[in-house]
Amino acid sequence: LSGKLRQFQASPFVRRIRYVTQYNKDLSQRAKPKSDSVASPFRESQQLDQEKKVIHKIIPISPVHQPLSKTSNRNELREMKLAAEIGGSATPLRAESKEERQWKEMKLRLDDLPGILARLSKIKLTALVVCTASAGFAMAPVPFDLTCFLLASLGTGLASCAANSINQFFEVPFDSNMNRTKNRPLVRGQISPLLAVCFAASCGVPGIALLTLGVNPLTGALGAFNIFLYTCCYTPMKRMSIANTWVGAVVGAIPPVMGWTAATGSLDAGALLLGGILYSWQFPHFNALSWGLREDYSRGGYCMMSVTHPGLCRRVALRHCVALIGLSTVAPVLDITTWTFPIISLPINLYISYLGFRFYRDADRSSSRKLFFCSLWHLPMLLLVMFSCKKSLLEKEEKGDLHGGNHGRAMEIRLP
């Protein structure tokens, strides 16, 4: 499951599951002493409950040299070579040439470009943003329009690519210093900052234009606003105030709202509810994740709740887990889903709330990890259940609803 989850990355608007792919690696890297920094005499303990006592076993060193046999000449030669290498004459030269090989020419190769741009735009994350926008589109109570759906998805995807590229453009020195992000294209010099900005512009402008002209102006405006919010508010705020988490949650909530407005053309209560669900989900997801990254945040100068206000961090996560239950109950009230939705979703909402409570109470790495990984499957499952419980248009017509009302009257006229 964790392997599968590793591919599951959140949108830049949802923002933080991008840590996922590296999260496990980060934890496993922590098991090894850091080799690329000044050697510390102390290593952070992995166990939070008690300090482990490590028992060292001294293995007797067996003699290197074997007694000479009939094929000893060859062995002797090998041993002599080995001795010479251990002697150190060859080692500094090999170390130097190894370093030389690590120097790369900063020349852009066209066949590398698609891969580089995919990583620059955080393509997996973008795919997830598009998924949440599609969920918003699918939940809207209107007949499904394929063209509109495709245009909205493409526009949202392009906007997300643009936002991610600008984010990476701003954060090069910080990304270099965090394990999770140190292999990004701008950090490695695979692409110049100018090219990154041009790419962002060539995604963002057509993306927003497509949304504004091909879908509707409201969706275009939301897309443009979200790019602005992510690149100009959230990204700088990460280093200024813990309020960045709330701004980031809004960034994550907007794509489903965009999907809804793309389908209906208006900002209904349903759109806000979907946005609200995504907004609340961000907190258990990100707060749990950030619990394990406190050292990197502290060193890199990132202002995160987990570092400065740990109690608040856990309270907010729990609060929003419980809020998800409430929001799921509001869905049938707004006629978006049937009443089966809050009932079917109750087990998973209760489970994530339980894990949120454990995280609140225990405040340790194992509870934070459990909550984080739960959030990864909780969201897609919730959206799937929501879609399957969607109130169909037919049901609404039978109720004599506004959408169905006209149809009913038309049918009466047709009957003899």
Binding site: Q47, E99, L194
Partner: protein, 188 residues
């Protein structure tokens, strides 16, 4: 040895501390390198910049800039801006990471002492603090360095925009030059 700046930029640091600018020696023709700088020399025929492995202290990758024969004033301004920013970034992060490591160790030592625990236990294993105990240190370090980070952020954004803007100008000039050359050749 620990504490000694390693990697390709190690030898650059003392020069910066002496207040000297990180300018390349004019005698090195194709690539701008500081004397006593990185051991790596890009091949002379290369007309591109070269980027190296992350520095051990700052985690930033050093770049050796290519100095073309016909470098214009604008191109020189760009290269110097990039070199200056690189050196400035290197100094900031090397110092930041080093002080983080040092303060972290001091914190661990003082906490262990307060708990009455020895630095090493009977088997010779170094004692450690768990993540919850370290949390106090992380919070403290972040708040202590807050203003420094604010200043760094502001300067970094300014430098990043300046460099990218200069890159844009250079690219534009080169494109126009190429267009003019093409037009001239087609005309002939």
């Amino acid at each position: 040895p620990p504490g000694c700046p390693g990697g390709a930029w190690g030898k650059m640091l003392p020069r910066l501390e002496r207040g000297e600018p990180a300018a390349p020696e004019p005698s090195l023709k194709s690539h701008g390198q500081a004397p006593g700088g990185p051991a790596f020399r890009p091949p002379a025929h290369s007309r591109h910049d070269w980027i190296g492995p992350p520095d051990r202290l700052s985690n930033l990758r050093p770049v050796i800039f290519h100095v073309p024969q016909d470098e214009s004033a604008l191109e020189r301004r760009l290269r110097e801006a990039r070199q200056d920013t690189q050196a400035w970034n290197q100094q900031f992060w090397a110092q930041q990471n080093a002080s983080f490591q040092q303060e972290k160790e001091e914190f661990i030592y003082s906490r262990l002492k307060a708990k009455g625990l020895a630095v090493r236990d009977e088997t010779g294993q170094k004692a450690t603090l768990n993540a919850e105990e370290m949390a106090d240190f992380y919070k403290d370090f972040l708040s202590k360095n807050f203003r420094k980070h604010m200043r760094y952020n502001r300067d970094w954004y300014k430098r990043n925009f300046t460099i990218t803007f200069l890159m844009g100008q250079v690219a534009l000039v080169r494109a126009l030059r190429w267009l003019r050359w093409k037009k001239k050749n087609v005309g002939d």
